[in-house]
Symmetry: C2
Subunit: 461 residues, 2 copies
């Protein structure tokens, strides 16, 4: 590629906001991985679909690679720009375009934050139910590009379920308006589905029609303490059968210790090995009775060691903070993050083998487990010892991740449940997707992005 000339872009799109000072390049060139040195060529901040089209057309002409950019809260390097790319930030395209109460559709620009979309839904008496801790910074466009999951998947599914329409600008600079909010549309390949989870490699998601649903029922939040992984699984099975669960999030003693060190409130006088924040529908006496009976059953059967039910909204928020504060409380330890998923039935065997593997391979590293057991999704965070160089730490983690990927392949799991592949997981994709699948992905990418300009190097080569 020849050296790009920003003036030609300025000439083509006189109104386009462009940034190129060093601070901006650093800010927009990285995501939450912090592993790559940001080195974009410039930052474009389009304000309209037409400007995005203009950018892609210019990029084809100038042969400049593009990195679509949302809230850059990603954990897999999917939004990193470290090779002279033009970052296309959607942050100015953050409006609600429209709402229809009959269709229950919220039409948004892709740069809107998840939180703003949730708030807009709530203002209309409805709910956009995808939810996770980064809600205030992550964007709907980014959520779509990773098919984001989060803490309510158990009840509401992943982002994919809630995208009734999608507007994208392909790598060829064409605008596709996909599905238009229809409930039923059997008119050929559903290209919308292809873009969901495509990590910016096929085009730029510029707008979405979000399906909304009824607000959640009144809920209650319980914190459970448990002795081991088998108990976590038993607790989940019992509570799922007896309550209408909205969320079931587990974490280990180590995760709790970090959150408490960062200001979280210690929930019990004693320490336990495992905890779960459980949120369940609570519409009356009967729900409370059922929850208490299940807890008693857990104490009797041994899968519950202690428990507390929130007595107020403030206490519920405090209990949730123990789970939602984990990522932030680990950040200073530069964790290496695994984000694996398995069928729930495969979890018991996998967990035992994975625990043994990690104990053997990481004798000196602290390993923190948490995640969404009801979706088969485990987050395994390995913390960098303060005295170890970052490069050495990552090298060792990559060695072990390869072993973990083999274990996942053996148990039919995935190397990425919800973070995406990006740069971080690319070396391990073969354990999850077959060589034939990867070759087909490459072929499909070529169809949508004939010049290879869309987020090159991410997901697959």
């Amino acid at each position: 590629m020849s050296l790009p000339n920003l003036d030609t872009l300025r000439d083509a799109l006189p109104g386009l906001r462009l940034l190129s000072d060093a601070n901006d390049l650093a800010h927009y060139g990285r995501d939450w991985t912090r592993r790559w040195t940001p080195a974009p060529f410039a930052i474009a901040l389009p304000a309209s679909v037409d400007e995005v089209v203009g950018i892609v057309r210019w990029a084809r002409e100038a042969r400049v690679a593009l990195v679509p950019s949302g809230g850059r809260t990603g954990l897999s390097g999917g939004a990193v720009a470290a090779n002279g790319e033009l970052v296309v930030s959607l942050e100015r395209m953050n409006r609600v375009i429209g709402f229809d109460p009959v269709d229950r559709l919220l039409h948004v620009q892709a740069g809107i934050t998840l939180q703003a979309a949730q708030d807009a839904a709530r203002d209309h008496g409805l709910q956009y139910p995808v939810d996770f801790a980064a809600r205030g910074s992550c964007t709907i466009g980014g959520n779509i590009n990773t098919n984001a999951g989060g803490i309510r998947v158990l009840r509401y599914g992943n982002t994919r379920e809630w995208i009734a329409g999608l507007t994208v600008v392909t790598g060829a600079g064409e605008v596709l308006r996909l599905n238009n909010g229809l409930v039923k549309n059997s008119s050929g390949y559903d290209l919308r589905q292809l873009f969901i989870g495509s990590e910016g490699t096929l085009g730029i998601v510029v707008e979405a029609m979000l399906s909304l649903t009824e607000p959640p029922p009144p809920t209650q939040v319980m914190l459970l303490a448990m002795p081991d992984f088998d108990a976590v699984l038993a607790a989940f099975a019992a509570l799922r059968a007896g309550l209408r669960l909205e969320a079931f999030e587990f974490f280990t003693a180590r995760a709790l210790a970090h959150v408490v060190a960062h200001g979280g409130q210690r929930p019990f006088a004693e320490d336990y090995a495992f905890y779960a924040v459980v949120e369940y529908a609570h519409e009356g006496e009967a729900d409370e009775t059922a929850a208490l009976a299940l807890f008693e059953q857990g104490m009797t059967e041994g899968w519950a060691l202690d428990g507390v039910i929130a007595g107020s909204e403030a206490q519920a928020a405090q209990l949730w903070r123990l789970r939602e504060g984990i990522t932030e409380s680990l950040a200073s330890h530069t964790p290496y993050k695994n984000d694996v998923s398995l069928r729930i039935s495969a979890l018991p065997a996998f967990l035992h083998e994975a625990e043994a593997l990690l104990a053997a391979e990481y004798p000196h590293f602290e390993v923190v487990w948490f995640g969404h057991i009801g979706d088969g999704n485990l987050h395994i965070n390995v913390l960098k010892p303060a005295d170890l160089a970052a490069a050495d730490f990552v090298r060792d983690c990559e060695r072990v991740t390869r072993l973990l990927a083999d274990l996942l392949a053996k148990h039919g799991g995935s190397i990425s449940a919800e973070h995406g592949i990006g740069l971080v997981k690319k070396p391990y994709l073969q354990g999850t997707r077959s060589a034939e699948e990867i070759a087909l992905m490459r072929g499909i990418r070529q169809v949508l992005d004939p010049d290879g300009l869309m987020n090159p190097g991410k997901l697959i080569d």
Copy 2:
């Protein structure tokens, strides 16, 4: 293409069951459209994934086109073999492979009927909730290839929502085992989604993992009589807000007359213009009170003219028969079927324009409306007058369908909600999908089916 030699296929796959007598060619070469003269070259009935792979490899070598074939209950010509193709019938691959109670997954071969899959789910105390009248003959593979909808979409969504894993043999003869039943899997393009709704043009679906859910709640069935389309929409809005709807299916006086002529039980002494079969959760006194109050409200507001609530399961079945018997009762009239969908918010304007259009363009034809108003899905059946030649009738219907397609495009609708495009709707696809989308579909098809052997001529050219 050179003339294929069946002996080479026999040699390659000695155990493969093959049929080639005239009756079989006629039987397996057509679907419910009955418009094309079946003329397949032969019928293959593989019993395993390996045999399907062998067939595709042979077809590539011999340059023979393949038509994947399920229950052939399709209404768009998607399973028609009229050009010397080899039909690949999945009817021998109709087994339940496995069930996992923890994952709530039913693993089936694609040739299993919808009914058999539903029954297997029920045997395990769970529900496979996709449902429609052809359940006894249509297959899961066919359902997947059209993303089948049916009568419970309102509550449970389309087939797409329930496919947790998919095994396909691509047009290149490669076996893809996609997603393996995982709830969360953000590891690149979700190829599974691409095959759902692909009408056999990318490969052959050979196995599926079906997600199961809780059995439905106890329900009650109500039949409503209404004066006009606006009343149908008002009734739907009121009942959706006040009841937990499992289904809301409307039909017109003409539809009822045909079903009654075929042995259906006339529900009311008087005739009304519109009817709806409504099924709703009925778990106690409160649900009954709510339903009756809504009916009273409808009588007061004018959107309900009469109504009956089933007093027994037998009566509920009788009411359902008024809706489910429509397709069969019209069959002798060789109906031309439209299967359109719109956003619900677009229905009022579309319905008035479409009614006027059809009244003006079909002054001498009987037009029967029914469908799934809550999904924005209308079935418009035009009946052939007995004295009109079939070819002339179809020609006239195609002329009007083009006008209808323009109207759909104006209102953002789709020419096919759930039947698929096949041969019947192919001329009108451009109204629903843009030229860019169709070109991309063509490119993707080329990637999955490089030799153009998979159901050629269907969906797109």
